[in-house]
């Protein structure tokens, strides 16, 4: 697939948040991603779909350098956030992860209070000077994650005492408390019931107004419901990326067609 070089005009216009070019990832000798070039557009939800082991999670983890934590992992190619290489010398991965937040498959709140879970990021990044400011960030983050009304009277209760769906929204509140520009979600609803799933999906639609969202999902219906762009990965390669509507009604690549119609798993 031909993707043009990153246009500075596009970056400046804010149209492209992340531009990945020829990204290859190796776990020791094993190659997991093959020359993936993909633009993540601003204020849009991009869904990554594909069978298990196709490299979609590996790709999403490249975007905030989560793969740095795996010793045998090697990433090649360039990934630019707002036109700046995220592997550049001056880039601090911790700062990068504040700009590019992440929500995981299973809700993983810290064994702390609801309040402290959300306040953790702003505290270590020094985003609040006063207690009032921190309170404001915690409230706003919980409101944006559609959890405030349910927990405002028990902010100091342990986060682990919430239901699965609430815990996941708490993790979203934690991820957005550092005011990221991009939110990565790795199968955020796979451990949730349909009601909690609908709440998270509704939330993704709202978050999109403030951030770009990249979501990895195994549910094609979910990709169809929440995203504007969909990228299909297969065997470590990006096969096709297009408007979500086009992918689900008229995909251009036979492999995409076979996957979404349930002919290959």
């Amino acid at each position: 697939m031909e993707i043009s070089r990153i246009s500075q005009a596009d970056v400046q216009n804010g149209a492209i948040k992340i531009a990945a070019r020829d990204v290859c990832v190796y776990y020791a000798e094993e190659q997991a991603l093959y020359n993936v070039s993909l633009d993540i557009q601003d204020t849009m939800v991009t869904a990554l779909i594909g069978p298990s082991g196709c490299g979609k999670s590996t790709f999403i983890r490249c975007l905030n350098r989560m793969n740095d934590t795996i010793e045998t992992c090697r990433v090649e190619g360039t990934i630019e956030l707002d036109g700046v290489d995220i592997h550049g010398r001056n880039i601090d991965p911790v700062q990068l992860r504040a700009r590019v937040g992440m929500v995981f498959q299973k809700p993983n709140p810290f064994p702390k209070s609801i309040y402290d879970n959300v306040a953790y990021g702003p505290r270590i990044h020094g985003l609040a000077d006063t207690r009032e400011e921190l309170d404001g960030i915690v409230q706003l983050s919980l409101e944006k994650a559609a959890l405030w009304e349910e927990v405002k009277d028990r902010l100091h209760a342990p986060g682990t005492g919430l239901s699965g769906g609430q815990q996941q929204r708490l993790c979203i509140a934690r991820a957005i408390s550092t005011r990221p520009e991009l939110l990565l979600m790795d199968e955020p609803c796979s451990a949730l019931d349909p009601i909690a799933t609908s709440q998270i999906e509704e939330l993704i639609g709202q978050l999109r107004e403030s951030f770009s969202v990249v979501i990895v999902t195994h549910s094609m219906q979910q990709a169809a419901r929440v995203s504007q762009k969909t990228a299909f990965f297969h065997l470590g390669s990006l096969v096709e990326v297009n408007e979500t509507e086009a992918i689900f009604t008229n995909p251009q690549d036979e492999r995409t067609e076979s996957y979404i119609t349930g002919r290959i798993g």
Binding site: Q221, F248, T249, N250, P251, S258, I260, T261, G262, R263
Partner: protein, 240 residues
């Protein structure tokens, strides 16, 4: 063929198979209705015409079944891409076929009236030839869908042009006969309406072929067909 490879979930394949079988059964019944309505007219056979009218109900019931099966398939299987387009196409095609059957029924109803005061033999004969062409068109339109044959579908679409021309020609022919022999005006007017019914069936064949193209490519073909049916304007043109 239309179902080229199997789904991991085999029950989905069975659903699609069943849906296509229903559509083909309906197609067969509709082809039969068109053929028999034409035969009843040529032979002035009221009994055959009556059976065409009676059998139309069965076609309506199959169409309802197809609609229900397609809705169930969408709800339970969440089809995507080509599967989804196929199901949508089946629904539209069954709708077009049901309309074709209505036109055949209408022809049969008029046949009973024509028997009371038969028109000239040659006027009926030309209508029989016209009907044969359209019957072939309906058959080809269903074949191109089930065989997923795009070039055949485009051929069906192109042939509608010829049908429109013949329809215009028939209109002129009937006008001439009526001017020559006013006593056959009533029966020939019925023939004119029957000709219109047959011409409408050809339009539905075009619509079916268009759905076949949509199913295969994801796009409806662009409407490039020249409009050749000027039957509606003939009278005013002749007055000049």
């Amino acid at each position: 063929m239309i179902l080229d490879s199997k789904h991991i979930n085999s029950a989905f394949d069975e659903d699609l198979d069943r849906l296509l079988t229903q559509l083909m059964t309906m197609g067969g019944l509709v082809e039969n209705a068109i053929r028999e309505s034409s035969r009843a007219l040529i032979n002035l056979d009221t009994e055959l015409a009556e059976s065409v009218i009676k059998d139309d109900h069965r076609i309506d019931l199959i169409q309802e079944d197809i609609d229900m099966a397609a809705v169930n398939c969408i709800a339970l299987r969440q089809p995507q891409a080509r599967d989804l387009r196929m199901i949508i196409a089946v629904m539209r095609i069954s709708n077009a076929l049901e309309r074709c059957a209505d036109h055949a029924k209408n022809t049969a109803k008029r046949t009973s009236a024509i028997v009371e005061a038969p028109p000239l033999t040659e006027t009926i004969a030309s209508l029989g030839r016209f009907s044969k062409l359209v019957q072939a068109l309906i058959k080809d339109s269903l074949d191109c869908f089930i065989q997923a044959d795009e070039s055949k579908a485009r051929d069906v679409i192109a042939r509608d042009h010829e049908i429109d021309q013949i329809h215009s020609g028939l209109f002129r022919e009937y006008l001439t006969y009526m001017l020559e022999k006013p006593s056959i005006i009533t029966s020939t007017m019925h023939l004119m309406f029957i000709a219109k019914n047959i011409e409408r069936i050809s339009d539905h064949a075009t619509a079916i072929a268009e759905q076949a193209v949509y199913m295969m490519t994801g796009h409806l073909p662009e409407d490039e067909r020249p409009k050749n049916d000027d039957a509606a304007y003939v009278a005013s043109a002749d007055q000049d």
